[in-house]
Amino acid sequence: MRDVLFASVRLLDPASGLDLHGDLLVRDGLIADWGPSLGRPDDALVVAEQGAVLCPGLVDIRAALGEPGYEYRETIASAAQAAAAGGITTLAALPDTLPAIDDPALVRLLRARGDETGSLTILPYGAVTVGCRGEELAELGLLAEAGAIAFTDGGHTVGSARLMRLALSYAKGFGARIAQHPEEPSLAAGGAATESERATRLGLPGIPAAAEAIQVARDIRLTALTGGAVHFAHVSTAEALRLIRQAKEDGINVTCDTAPPYFDLNETAIGDFRTYAKLSPPLRKDADRQAVVAALADGTIDAIASDHQPRDADDKRQPFAQATPGGTGLTTLLSVTLAQVHSGTVSLGQAIGLLTAKPARLLGVRAGRIEKGQPADLCLFHPERIWQVESGKLPGKAQNTPFDGRALEGLVLGTWKAGRRVFG
């Protein structure tokens, strides 16, 4: 494998605080050295891009893959392609597949399938309950031993308070975190959009914002009761963020993530029944979106996830209430996040931290950092270069982006996995 020298780029690694203009050398797939100016080995491949930033390969804390069971939507190979185009080199995969990841063999399978791509490390979540059905606890210990990174039922809320209590309590023994889809099931049942004037006008059954806060409030109390660790996924409302902020101040072991649609879009994106903008949780009112932006700035939100949910055309070409919720997010993760840098919400360092060091720390993995002697998982991007999202032309199979038509400032130029260029 040839050495790679990144020459005259901005090196940015929030994990170590590194932020300097200089060179970085990759040798034998590992990060060998960096500094303001390195010598150029004769045989090294030189990568030089004016104004580019080199950061750790992104760590996506939450994404659904089509495998196993939904290969018509997306395969792991196609997801890896989309991830590479988005600068993602490590991805935590949701377990509500078919079958659900509730068996140690499936955890090992997913890890191996990731390694086969050569471009993406897959960190499987294990199911909290058998089949993600919310009825009986899965074998959390065996799943953790096989390499499950944390536990969640994916897009399904663990609805029973008793079961959630048990899960938080039992997982504590294995040092594992329970990630919850925070949506009170009976309030959300049948809903297709945020309950609001817009849903009223469109005649769509609504999901009240309070459905999120109620679930968050309950699970904060159960976490306090058990001394366990909870993570709230794709938090989207002001009220829930207020509760999480308070719980953190109270010293309860609570973390959360959000996803680009919840700080970049609001409910108006559904327009006249645009099913690509039907997500779970639903896009909210702008006041909620603004609260998510504020929570990114003040550190309440611990990570930005792609919340990637591949769907095929038939899942989406339906009357709105019948269309399957979910949007793709791998390729757009960095660029949409950078919009918050350009608008002044967060610094570039903070933004990259939310996509690398912070999710890596939450998942307890060594990824998401620039460290000598470690595999060179790297993302090179230009923070100002402009491109337009176009459904149908995105890398990978799934094309159901809620950002269709959005012009974005910030482009991934290349992605390296263990020193090998996998994109660009």
Binding site: S196, T200, L202, G203, Q318, Q322
Partner: protein, 312 residues
């Protein structure tokens, strides 16, 4: 200005002159219909398909008569939505309709937005004959025509729409039409049957019939489906009738010449008392049905001319 859209999917978004144009044309069809004449050359050779994914004898029949009086070839298609993959049926049907060169497509569907989806896929002009809890534009137009003929105007009236507003596409279309034309709309019903942020539609919300009906020019009743009781939105039919059913006593607070309307079919003794429904001095419920045919003729006429196609 005449009507500027290719389809009729919703009242929301129409301009007063567009609504006025449709009503004026409908007015002329009322006269034609009463004279016993027809205009069979107008839509001769045109194909009108009534595509009903939800049962509705009266709306379908009304469109069928309207189409036939204008000389169109009318075909009724009823599609069951009980099959598992509803969306696939919808788009498969769209492809079939394109192959059959349908000119005018009347759609009734139990899902909000289904006609919008079809309109993207078919070549025909699409007329929404009621979609889920979204809109029922021809119902609002026929209600408006009924009101205009009786009251001489559509502006500065006080209209009370009573009952299950949450699930009513008739209410939504009427709210948009009447507020667009300059009337004051009130909605009256229990809070569990009121849509979220209803007041943001430019209307007043009441939970008490006496206050909601006080001084009203028009009292528009909505149908309450049994299913609402089963889902616990209303405890029982008798409780509903006690507080929200229209009877002579509740109607007494409205203006002396207030009209009573209902889109049908009525649940007598649930949302409306028979004595009121059948009162020839107050109830215009049968007249609404007559206006329905005229309004639908006007809509078919207008859309078949392709006014303003590609103007936007």
């Amino acid at each position: 200005m005449s009507y500027r859209q290719k389809h009729l999917l919703a009242i929301e978004g129409l301009y007063p002159p567009e609504i006025g144009h449709l009503l004026d044309l409908a007015e002329s069809y009322v006269l034609l219909n009463r004279s016993g004449k027809t205009q069979r050359d107008l839509l001769r050779g045109r194909t009108l398909i009534n595509l009903f994914f939800e049962d509705s004898t009266r709306t379908r029949t009304s469109f069928e008569i309207a189409g036939k009086r204008l000389g169109a070839d009318v075909i009724n298609m009823s599609v069951s939505t009980s099959s598992v993959n509803k969306g696939e049926t919808l788009l498969d049907t769209a492809a079939t309709l394109n192959a059959m060169h349908c000119d005018l497509l009347v759609v009734r569907h139990d899902q909000s937005g289904a006609p919008n989806l079809l309109a993207q896929k078919v070549d025909a002009a699409v007329i929404n004959a009621g979609d889920g809890t979204h809109e029922h534009p021809t119902q609002a137009l026929l209600d408006a025509l009924t009101i205009r003929r009786r009251k001489g105007r559509l502006e500065s009236l006080v209209v009370a729409i009573c009952g299950d507003v949450l699930h009513s596409r008739v209410a939504r279309s009427n709210i948009h039409l009447l507020t667009t034309m300059g009337s004051r709309v009130r909605v009256v019903g229990p809070p569990t049957l009121m849509p979220t942020e209803a007041e943001r539609l430019g209307i007043e919300v009441f939970h008490d019939m006496e206050r909601g009906l006080a001084g009203a020019d028009i009292v528009m009743m909505l149908r309450l489906q049994r299913e609402r009781m089963q889902r616990g939105l209303v405890p029982s039919a008798r409780e509903y009738f006690r507080f929200f059913g229209l009877d002579a006593a509740k109607l007494a607070v409205a203006k002396p010449d207030a009209l009573v309307m209902h889109p049908g079919p009525m649940n007598r003794g649930v949302e409306i008392d028979s004595a009121v429904a059948d009162d020839p001095h107050r109830s215009v419920i049968r007249e609404q049905v007559e206006m329905g045919v005229a309004v639908r003729m006007a809509v078919l006429d207008t859309l078949s001319r392709g006014h303003g196609r590609n103007e936007f």
